[in-house]
Symmetry: C2
Subunit: 411 residues, 2 copies
């Protein structure tokens, strides 16, 4: 196996050093590099200071073959990434007339006149090829110099992300071809990270595939990365072994979402869903409706933020938060929205009742076979509890569908 | 005014370079340093590699007076922060018998025996004072060397945070005393970042207070940081001037949230609110219900994810998405939930209708004085559109309350 290509990320922006924004670009790019066999060895965050920036770029070039920068490509005097690279490579910046035309056309499409300050975004150095930015006015750069590469992208994630996917990633793959690399992610819910780690421990000892464990809002994920011509086969074997260890907590792989896998099962069978939420205040509906598929099965729902009797919708009067209440809510919303399934969440927020206990949440499902409820406790802060409760409701709905033979376990 | 003390953060852990976890420690510490007059000039993220780590620490010490490290203090062979610092300072690590006793006592409290590997967490160098870690087994270090400081903290945020607040921050304040520093944030919505920048431009020229402009999901923010004995006065004057420039887009300051300021006005007047959302799928209700105050004014709402006629709730049949529909929805939910105000969102999702246009959203309000609607277009990705639409609805509700003299402009 070939030696890994070494890379560094440079995140640029004084706002990063003031802690005003979280650098989500670096963590995203860092997660992508192993998939193309490139080894990230350092991330440096710098302010918009041309001397410091030039020094950082110079040192990175002395250590690594690939330098990836984000930020500092705006139209203001503070945006100095272009100048810093020109300084390090001892090249002159010039105005690219084609880029000026493109920028002006972009402003015309936005119905605005281009301010003169945006002209600096059309500047480049001779060794830089321009990378299109469909979502902003800052083109990126792809610089080849002395056998090394500098990929220069804008800071806003919504501009960086498509430029990474459409421009930088394909060029890196071509420029630094590697043995076949394949990745697979196994997604679980309702299991502690430490427990997942224990169960998959034997697989950590293998050099190929390598394992990573990630804690995400929708559960613990295990990522496998395999190299070499038998990568696919290695992944299949390892995935099978890990799924056996972690079943029945595994709900999906790779780009699956919990709302997606549940939605697929529902729409496949022509089943419809409605929700009634107290405690999560609309988050469950929001998560479900975030996918286009939801138009085929999710009819909508009711958010309750006070005594159920007060909604004016004729929902049952209750005197507490229990599993029976969750089931009544699920049944009620199923009837009201004339759906096949009703899904409900009700909970006691320990911060709101000013006690020191954990949040207690009940999840209810009503379907053709009756009703069922589950309870869960969360010893975490409120916003995490709310998110976990909404994800939990989807996980429980999945369990119910499996129990009803309307959905299969992940094989 | 004294010159700022310069600092660097070093975030340590191979998992950071693999993109497995987001470095929330660095952004938190970065946001804290300006408040004690310390200027962060670089953040470096490194893997658990003793040579690279030692090189980074050595270079940081050559540039900055304060080095803050997080991570690499665990009990495994991969945890090399202690060793790297010892190497750079040319000091010998020794086992601190007091720390061993404390660690053993901690394990007894947890009902476990201490594994031998944890002994390395009781090691320190002569120039390091130990910092207690009530939430973990890794004590921190406070190192004073050649007039410089190295503050060494564990990586898990729940261990780092109390150590920062209780140990490192107080020591930094004592070690590098500064003039009074005060900060203030002015929050706006419905204004482009560039426009805010233009309007506050004159204030950027002042050395005190300094300004920063930040784009957040709930709008553009201007943060002022003032130093010296008349900091409070300087802030007041600048805040007043900026608010005059940016009114009526200013909706709050410092820790205000849009749902909070609207909620305060509603609950102060005993007014109640219900929502009806299509397009945002529950996010509006979720944002409103996230504050404890919401129990006093927010009764709940309805999420619609398909044709309005299909909800079984008797809401108006519609044949399109218009301002009139938004107003009818707001009136309908106001009546159904028997509230003083109904707030609605309806929209056309350009991705769902597979056209290439922008998302068009209508926001409706119904109250004692009638109904009103607004329209907005978003040329951004769906999840951003949804978030902006929900925040927009709260901003429009605020405008309506001001128009009705039920709320005041921010003074």
């Amino acid at each position: 196996m070939k030696k890994n290509v070494k890379a560094e990320i440079i995140s640029i922006g004084t706002e990063l050093l003031r802690g005003e924004i979280t650098d989500t670009n670096a963590v995203y790019i860092a997660s992508q590099l192993p998939l193309i066999g490139i080894e990230l060895q350092r991330i440096t965050t710098s302010g918009d200071d041309i001397k410091k920036l030039a020094q950082i770029i110079r040192q990175s070039l002395s250590r690594s073959s690939v330098i990836i920068t984000t930020g500092g490509l705006g139209p203001t005097q503070d945006d100095l990434t272009r100048e810093a690279i020109a300084l390090v490579l001892e090249e002159e910046l010039f105005t690219d007339t084609d880029l000026v035309k493109e920028l002006k056309a972009q402003f015309i499409r936005m119905g605005r006149e281009m301010p003169p300050s945006n002209l600096q975004q059309a500047m480049r150095i001779p060794s830089a090829a321009s990378l299109p930015n469909p979502r902003g006015t800052a083109p990126g750069w792809w610089v080849e110099t002395n056998g090394k590469v500098i990929a220069v992208m804008p800071g806003p994630p919504r501009e960086m992300l498509p430029m990474w996917q459409n421009e930088v990633l394909p060029r890196l793959k071509t420029r630094f071809p590697v043995d076949v690399i394949q990745a697979r992610t196994i997604k679980t819910f309702s299991m502690q990270e430490a427990r997942v780690g224990e169960l998959v421990q034997p697989y950590f000892e293998a050099a190929n595939p390598t394992l990573g464990i990630y804690a995400k809002p929708d559960g613990i994920q295990v990522r496998l990365i395999a190299k070499g011509s038998d990568a696919a086969h290695l992944l299949d074997i390892t995935e099978k072994g890990i799924k056996e260890k972690l079943a029945p907590y595994v709900w999906g792989t790779d780009n699956d979402t919990l709302e997606g896998v549940v939605g697929q099962a529902l729409s496949h069978r022509g089943l419809t869903l409605a929700t009634m939420e107290q405690f999560t205040g609309g988050l469950l509906g929001h998560i479900i409706s975030n996918s286009t598929l939801s138009l085929r099965f999710y009819r909508g729902g009711v958010i309750v933020n006070s005594d159920l009797a007060d909604t004016g919708l004729g929902f049952p009067v209750t005197d507490g938060v229990t599993g029976a209440v969750a089931e009544a809510m699920a049944q009620s919303i199923k009837d009201r929205f004339s759906t096949d399934i009703g899904l409900s969440i009700t909970g006691v927020d320990c911060q709101r009742v000013a006690s020191n206990q954990s949040d207690v949440v009940y999840i209810g499902v009503a379907d053709a076979l009756g009703t069922k409820s589950w309870t869960q406790q969360f010893m975490i802060n409120r916003s995490d509890s709310v998110e976990r409760a909404a994800v939990s409701a989807l996980f429980r709905l999945r369990e119910r569908l499996i129990e009803n033979k309307q959905m299969d376990y992940v094989k």
